[in-house]
Symmetry: C2
Subunit: 464 residues, 2 copies
């Protein structure tokens, strides 16, 4: 018999072309080593609970009660759950029609969507209207480089074209609008229709926070070039400095006033997987569409309906995130203690990690202003690059594999995120437990400095 429909040779070429480094060769090798009994420090994915972060108590209490609503009728419920968690569980159950086991509207539970809208209104100081699901489109898409490979992989899968724009490492991963113009001109000269631009703010893997002035430039650029702006703002709670607080693209757009505030098409994303929540396994999030025509919104609703319903428990987490406890609530003090504890520790860990990397030979690293990652540049000596080629590896993959084997630290090579020719990085999360951090950084330094010593005699000073 000939080839079958699901033989590798018959698969869609777009599927084969997809690259996804976050779960690529390094991750697979780390999993193998773990099976062999080696202790692995997984810093390849922003997965806080897997690295020991405790979930926030109050939301878990609420969702547990929603999952087991018969507990609300148990005379002992007050012994195990505070009154505000009980009240909140009743509130969310009253918003559903049939509890967590019933399909919700494909756009999400109306009452939770209302809470999301109110959150956006409070955050941005202007009215909000929103939908709760997640689609995607093809064609040319402007994506920052370095970027999170979800973007490159999805564009590749759908047969679109990634149009890269480079972030400036020497300017703390800032975004230069002249680079954008150049990228678009180049893409158009190749016959591409550039339709959208992605920003990741705070940045993944770069960790920078965009300033209000920078956001204004970006918005003007998208308006002039007739691009949809896609704002990946999932790290909006993860801020580790005070000079550049998070500011949403939507707020900047609204502050700019008409005509631009009434015309620029903006889609912005948020999630319960990040922030001080880190509820990655719950799969909850929303996106908000600004200035999309109602007919398009209807089409998106129709497409979302094919999957029938977003995961309902995750929508409860969304509600709890956007409508948190208030001062005076029974569980408020504990909630604040837990969430502040997480954020403050992340801030300290960002500092330990940046300082650690900058103390290493041939390593330079911008401070992690936000998000969950550190993205140090590794200035590989020529001799190391040659050794990598000989081993059939991309140079940063070669370095990261050696790091993994020597220390158990599982990182993602920078080439998975894109970088300028001849420049090498790696990405780690800042998530290992704070008390383990000094040992991890010292283990890294020991490996790195030895590696550099070994390969250094041919180090070419001319590379940045």
């Amino acid at each position: 018999m000939g080839l079958k429909a699901l033989d590798y040779e018959t698969l869609n070429e777009n599927v084969k072309k997809v690259q996804y480094a976050v779960r690529g060769e390094l991750y697979l090798r780390a999993s193998e080593l773990q099976k062999e009994g080696k202790k692995i420090i997984f810093t390849n994915v922003g997965n806080p609970h897997a690295l020991g972060q405790k979930p926030l108590t109050f939301p878990r209490q609420v969702v547990a009660l929603c999952q087991a609503p018969f507990l609300l009728d148990d005379p002992n419920v007050g012994l195990m759950f505070p009154a505000d968690a009980i009240a909140r569980a009743k509130h969310y159950l009253s918003l559903t029609s049939g509890g967590l086991g019933a399909y919700s509207d494909s756009r999400g539970i109306p009452g939770v969507r209302k809470e999301v809208a109110e959150f956006i209104e409070r955050r941005d100081g202007c009215d909000a209207d929103l939908e709760l699901y997640y689609p995607w489109e093809g064609d040319g898409i402007l994506v920052p480089v370095p970027q999170y490979p979800l973007y490159s992989a999805t564009i590749s899968l759908l047969g679109g074209s990634l149009v890269p724009y480079y972030l400036e490492e020497t300017a703390n991963w800032g975004l230069d609008v002249n680079n954008l113009r150049e990228s678009v001109a180049q893409a158009r000269s190749k016959g591409l229709t550039v339709r959208a631009m992605v920003i990741i703010n705070p940045g993944n893997p770069t960790g920078q926070c965009l300033s209000e002035a920078n956001l204004r430039e970006i918005i003007n650029f998208c308006y002039q070039e007739n691009l949809v702006l896609l704002g990946d703002e999932v790290y909006q709670q993860n801020i580790y400095q005070d000079e550049r607080p998070f500011i949403s693209a939507r707020k900047v757009l609204m502050d700019m006033g008409p005509p631009i505030s009434k015309e620029l098409q903006l889609i912005s994303f948020h999630t319960v997987s990040k922030g001080y929540w880190g509820e990655c396994g719950q799969r909850g999030g929303y996106f908000e569409m600004t200035n999309l025509p109602p007919q398009t919104v209807d089409e998106i609703y129709k497409i979302a309906s094919i999957a029938l319903s977003p995961n309902v428990p995750a929508q409860i987490f969304m509600g709890l995130m956007v409508n948190p406890l208030k001062p005076g609530d029974i569980s408020y003090e504990q909630f604040i203690r837990e969430s502040q504890g997480i954020l403050q520790s992340l801030r300290r860990r960002a500092r330990i990690m940046t300082d650690g990397f900058n103390s290493c030979k041939n390593v330079v690293c911008n401070f992690t202003e936000g998000a969950m990652y550190s993205f140090p540049q590794i200035r590989l000596p020529l001799k190391a690059i040659e050794a990598a080629k000989k081993a059939g590896k991309v140079p940063d993959v070669f370095y990261c594999l050696k790091l993994l084997e020597a220390t158990g630290i599982s990182t993602v090579p920078g080439s998975g995120f894109g970088q300028k020719e001849g420049v090498f990085h790696l990405r780690t999360t800042i998530l290992p437990a704070e008390e383990d951090m000094p040992a991890i950084m010292s283990s890294f330094k020991k490996f790195n400095d030895k590696f550099m010593d070994e390969y250094e005699d041919k180090w070419n000073q001319s590379r940045m």
Copy 2:
């Protein structure tokens, strides 16, 4: 300014072409009427909890404990949770790395996947190996008509071609392999590459159960024609007669022996949304791949990795479904009482509904052997068809809208599922509460018989 990237005119044509009747005009009109205060009986979606079915107690206890693992350390936990629920929660937590808030492997939690494999082995009496995620491909796909519009919508969205094969209403919605041959020949003559065939067993919307002999014919046909067989077996627990119990395509395939059992590519699907679980809002399920080459499985894993992790709480539900309580467990009696209670009531409701429809003028209906739906044929008089045309409606949409306005019963017109030219149906679920069923059927009969009387004088006896 010209058109923007997300203006309706610019959207991908495949998006606009998608049709999805289950949440179409009827559903939207029903939602409007509900907002206006009318009592609506939503029988358009198989959403049991929304219609009053209580969730099973034990799985909800287990998932609540997994969501709030600190309860396990509470000295009062034994007052509110039985010991087996506590033990099972500890078991599932031990299978995760970081609890419900951590990303799992993109294929799912290894320990839960093992439970799924063991379930399939017990069910089919042969070894199983499996993965836990959900992809899809284009090209020509054989799909039964009537069919669940998830298939037509997804194929349309991805630019594939639906190749219909007709189920035989007069043979209790059986599948005639000669129809399959004809459909494939016709599709090939149009230049399509037919790559896969979908079966829905038990049937949606038709409710029939496929016999072992019929499954063997289908498998032989797919083998001869080199098609992947996609087995939508999500209703495998929902069986309402004893002559044709559910038998999985995989079991039939394995029983056929080599070479076919080693070569036919089969993907089969299961879920916690259906059965006596009805946990639609949790979004849990798995699919199992048989005879797919490892390279293809790797590609599927890579694509699944883009979404990082399936919803973890839903994986716990999956584990609980495939690895249920056993005789002697503390909660076993209650679990059996609840699940048998649901199934037996559904069996009675299937009978009430079929008999009700068959007592109506110009309505004929096969018995619901399985799944959750009744799909009566409505023999519309010519005068009604003309009135529908005049109103700019498809005739069955016209009928269903009038039914909705008169009675509040929200159904899905048969045209959303596909049907032979000039033949009309509607789909209802058998899920309204058993005690409401007689009143609903009598309200339906009153509407229908009056409708038929009104339009009957031109009724054309020649239509089937």
